[in-house]
Amino acid sequence: QDLNYVLVSHAPDSDSWWNTIKNGIALAGEQMDVSVEYRNPPTGDLADMARIIEQAAAAGPDGIITTLSDYDVLSGPIRAAVDSGIDVIIMNSGTPEQAREVGALMYVGQPEYDAGYAAGLRAKDDGVGSFLCVNHYISSPSSTERCQGFADGLGVDLANQMIDSGQDPAEIKNKVQAYLSANPDTDAVLTLGPTSADPTLLALEDNGMAGEIYFGTFDLGENIVQGIKDGVIAWGIDQQPFLQAYLPVVVLANYHRYGVLPGNNINSGPGFVTADGLTLVEKYAGEYR
């Protein structure tokens, strides 16, 4: 284990989606025989995240894998890390251009706005004209970007179609129901991950709109996969977090050992997971998917 990589995320401790990431780097570390670490700001405060990147740089690893969820905040520390001789790969959020700007080797991921936009276009094709975006993490900018992208893809104004649902499942469920009964002509529901998708599923089941209303979601989870299977959820946008974590480790290890580097960025998503070909997805949802 001569090589040593650190992955710094922007997610608070409890965000379940990042598990896949943790599992991804752990597996890659094992397979490539390098040591990997996962770090994150406990409350999801991006300013704290900047400090963690600085800390990681101070510890002098061979490479840092990190997100670029706010270019303003993170570009400084990342560039400093790059300049002090540490190789950096940007994953998950940010854009390829921004990654190049800060001097990262490459970008692996799915820009949030673009993913939302793609989903919006797809929904527009399916005849959706209005929607409800269930934002369970309103204070985080990337979640708002997803909703904004979706609205722009549909070509409508976001306005009041995004709700601050909080993270309590019962509150999410009841808020979705409240919104839908107050706005019965809503065409579609968009959730931003398992935290909001699971209660929304129950809410739709309860008020009989399951299968009736157009339902799309970001990210996968056990219940989401089940929902897709049952035909309640039209699609899940899979940005394949596993790849976002796994590939950078592999790339870095190979680069450091053999000097080989892919010539381009890797778009891990957006891939739309629909009812077709769900077996593996189902098996590993929440763990590697």
Binding site: D15, S16, A178, A182, E287
Partner: protein
């Protein structure tokens, strides 16, 4: 003796008169009652046609209020006993996670997982109380420490055991279990079925359940909330233990001198708070079939807010469970009502803060009238 027996004459020329009506009105719950009337009036006027008051809408805000009520009852009794619990939210997350780990990861029967979790969590509540009693530290600090410790374990356990922070599959495990429906089931389904058939409540017009009534029963969550409020209210006002709770919070030293087992009362109240949090967690886990490491965030504040809106005194010795329940109702109705009324949702927090301030000022005024405090 009789000759010196008029220290307070029946009428006191030094006190201006207070009308009978006003006197019969001032009760600890008055603030809560006013608030409830106000809130309902407001939403009846602004959101009547938004579906907030049809059967579905009513169930909607009732469920949310019931949630708040469950934790508010525990927080209320504990606050009257003079202590505080900031670890309620973390306890909710922790309890849910324990049930999931026991039943899914370890594969125990669900009833056993639930019972062991209840034991474990009330024991943790007792530990909280024990530390507060033994060290004499303010419960704010002790339970703040537990807020962090419990949340840390809630994230750490599933991550090391299952490599994820949401554990699902509890619904499957709970299939056919005898205890699970006590928390996750619904009652009176036949009544709503009948109401639906009789056309008294709306039925689904489309979708998988077309023809069924939109409300197919009362969730056990609401039953638990009512039961706990009833239990708490009777305990507080109708039993000697209730008197001890007031006494412990009013002045622990004086109560101890009078023979009230203050330490026991306080520890029991910490355990009861933990119990309520566990009920909350169990209902949630049984309804949603999964436990997440982020469940219950900030619930401690919500419980305290409901209790304080309901007229309890933050420093103990004064309050009412009915008041706390009304506080929870106000909280739930406002939160959901804003959605029905279509108010920009990020303003909810602003409303909450303003309501809290207003309610507390009103309650202080009422309390001063009742107790003659200065």
């Amino acid at each position: 003796m009789s000759q010196s027996a008029q220290p307070t004459p029946a009428t006191d020329e030094r006190i201006k008169d207070i009308s009978r009506l006003r006197q019969s009105l001032i009760r600890p719950e008055l603030g809560g009652i006013c608030g409830t009337v106000l809130v309902f009036t407001f939403f009846l006027l602004t959101a009547l046609d938004s579906g907030m008051f049809n059967s579905q809408g009513v169930l909607n805000w009732s469920t949310v209020s019931a949630q708040f009520m469950i934790i508010a009852v525990g927080a209320c009794l504990l606050m009257i006993a003079g202590e505080f619990d900031l670890s309620v939210g973390s306890m909710i997350g922790f309890a849910g996670m324990m049930i999931a780990i026991f039943s899914v990861t370890l594969g125990w029967p669900v009833w056993m997982a639930i019972l062991i979790t209840f034991t474990l969590c009330t024991a943790l509540g007792a530990l909280n109380g024990f530390i507060v009693i033994r060290t004499g530290l303010p419960s704010f600090i002790v339970t703040l420490a537990f807020l962090f410790i419990l949340r840390g374990f809630t994230i750490y356990f599933p991550q090391t055991l299952e490599r994820k922070t949401i554990i699902g599959g509890i619904s499957d495990a709970a299939q056919g279990d005898w205890l699970a429906p006590v928390f996750g089931g619904k009652i009176l389904g036949w009544l709503f079925q009948w109401l639906g058939e009789a056309g008294l409540i709306a039925t689904f017009e489309r979708g998988t359940r077309a023809g069924q009534p939109v409300v197919d029963g009362i969730p056990m969550l609401i039953v638990w909330a009512i039961a706990l409020v009833f239990f708490g209210h009777v305990l507080l006002t109708r039993t000697r233990f209730g008197n001890w709770i007031f006494a412990s919070g009013g002045d622990a030293e004086a109560a101890r001198n009078s023979g009230v087992p203050v330490n026991r009362v306080k520890i029991l109240m910490f355990m009861f708070t933990a119990f309520c949090a566990t009920v909350f967690a169990t209902c949630q886990v049984m309804e949603f079939g999964s436990a997440g490491a982020d469940r219950g965030l900030l619930k401690e504040f919500e419980a305290i807010i409901a209790v304080v809106i309901g007229g309890a005194l933050l420093t103990g010795g004064y309050g009412s469970v009915i008041g706390a329940a009304l506080g929870a109702l106000i909280f739930g109705v406002v939160q959901q009502g804003l959605f029905f009324a279509g108010v920009e949702s990020s303003l909810f927090r602003v409303f909450l803060g303003v309501i809290l301030l207003g309610a507390v000022i009103l309650n202080t005024y009422i309390r001063r009238m009742i107790t003659g405090e200065r």
